[in-house]
């Protein structure tokens, strides 16, 4: 297997309390290979989002990374200084957040939110950024006129596609999707996931896909890790997780889901 895009080793994260700490992530290790779609499943509060935040070092106090390594492109992210970290973010790892409604700044135009990234990382001026942003929007089927709009003028699904387009701005190696479709209805959800899949083939990035929806995950992912109370209890390829879940908790998760019929299907189609 070629060198992994992301390699997490013995990662432990606490939320510091008044006198004792909440252990949100306990010695978790896993790898994501190039072009691979890796899923992290588990109930809310199991620590899966905490891991996602740690990869770009987005945590704020009282979260505390106690130990471990997060290696991306041969470097331990936790060792980067402020400047290196700033350059690393979005260029190596981009992220789609939980709520489609809230991840764009309501008082800045769409164009400015593209420009921010392109100017900071690629030194583009306004005109260059506008051209590049229009190109990126085309990838997600949004007309370039939308650049002048503000987030409130776009539907939830459209906003999420805009976020995805911003994610692609710097050709990241890894795209983290933290429950990217919870706020969307089923049709839009399916459309977004198909699109991600198509874009992934086109650009070859890896995906860390986080959701509590095992069924959705089994359709999307190559490999799946199941988390329970901060521990990674089972990692296996999606087929095995679906057909032969080993850990009792994985079986419990499946039992709580409406059963899928038939074979696992890769989401095909979606014209990108």
């Amino acid at each position: 297997m070629s060198e992994p895009v992301l390699s997490i080793r013995d990662l432990s994260i606490d939320y510091v309390g008044l006198d004792s700490d909440m252990h949100a992530v306990k010695a978790v290790s896993f790898d994501i290979g190039p072009g691979e779609v890796f899923g992290l499943a588990g109930e809310s509060g199991c620590g899966k989002s905490t891991i996602a935040f740690a990869i770009s070092r987005l945590h704020r106090p009282p979260a505390l990374i106690r130990s471990g390594e997060i290696v991306v492109g041969g470097r331990n992210v936790l060792d980067l200084d402020a400047d290196e970290l700033r350059r690393f973010r979005w260029r190596d790892v981009a992220m789609v957040f939980q709520s489609a409604m809230n991840s764009l700044n309501p008082v800045l135009s769409i164009e400015t939110q593209f420009y921010d990234v392109l100017h900071t990382h690629a030194g583009m001026n306004r005109a260059e950024a506008r051209a590049r942003a229009a190109e990126l929007l085309r990838l997600v089927d949004i007309p370039a006129e939308r650049l002048a709009s503000y987030p409130h003028q776009c539907s939830g699904g459209m906003r999420q596609r805009i976020v995805i387009a911003i994610c692609l701005a710097l050709n990241p190696k890894l795209l983290i999707m933290d429950e990217p479709t919870t706020a969307l209805d089923v049709v839009v959800q399916r459309e977004i996931l198909q699109r991600i899949d198509a874009l992934r083939r086109q650009f070859g990035f890896s995906v860390l896909f986080i959701t509590h929806d095992l069924g959705l995950m089994a359709q999307m992912c190559d490999r799946i890790g199941v988390m329970l109370e901060g521990e990674l209890v089972e990692v296996n390829d999606a087929q095995s997780i679906y057909r032969r879940p080993r850990h009792p908790y994985t079986r419990k998760l499946w039992a709580s889901m409406p059963r899928l019929r038939g074979e696992r299907v890769r989401l095909e189609g979606g014209d990108a």
Partner: protein
Amino acid sequence: MRDLVRQLRHNRKALIGLLILLLIIGAALAAPWLTQYAPTARVGRPHQPPSAEHWLGTTRLGQDVFARLIYGARTSLAVGFGAGVMITVLGTVLGIVAGYRRGLVDEIINFATNIVLVVPNLPLLLVLAAFIGQASPWVIALILGLTSWAWGARVTRSETLSVAQKDFVKSAEMLGEPAWRIMALEIFPNLISIVGINLIGSVIFAVITEATLEFLGLGDPNAVSWGIMLYNAQNSSALTVGAWWDLLSPCVALALLGLGLALLNFAIDEISNPRLRTGSRIQRWTRLVRAGEGRL
């Protein structure tokens, strides 16, 4: 409610605030035992500086400043809490009724609230007081109570709107509980921290405004209160003749009372708003990071 009290006990701001408040209340209650002088009697020569005999000196009329201060605390506290309770009760009742009943009642209350909010409060009070003449502290408390409920009503209303959507309110409605019971027993208990903030904020406002009105010459000059002390000191040119104790004593007292109440208010805000809450956790977090036990 009990949770609120428990958390207040662990909050340093709340404890300091409470301490200051208790100190002032204690001094006010124990006034006759703390000083031998009556607050209105001439007991010394005019404008004597602080001494063993007169701890905070004397006024131009030869009254003992310390005696006036601790007896005056009674007035300031009584007006502050009296008007504060009145403001809070009015604001809370109007806010809950408007937010829960909706419809025409809401329209009317909300409209009145907005009007009162854009008519500047102190000028309005000054005009009212000017027509009343020399207002006793009680009259001042009354007009404060009647004119200052708007802010509380607005905040309570918007909070009520969100509480009214909760399941326990809906189920009480299904069970056919009368509206007043729902408002009093289901909604009100969930607004307790808003009411607390409103109450303390209103007390601060009332204490400050009473002192201001009296300082501006709208009070009864024979009353014993901190505002009247300021008024008399200003009128006897205490600063120009160098009798700083006459003027600064009520200033310090007012600042201290304001600070005590504000600390309490800030603490309640911190406790009731989970996002503001993490203060002392962050201190521990900082210690852990400094000790090299982790990073971000």
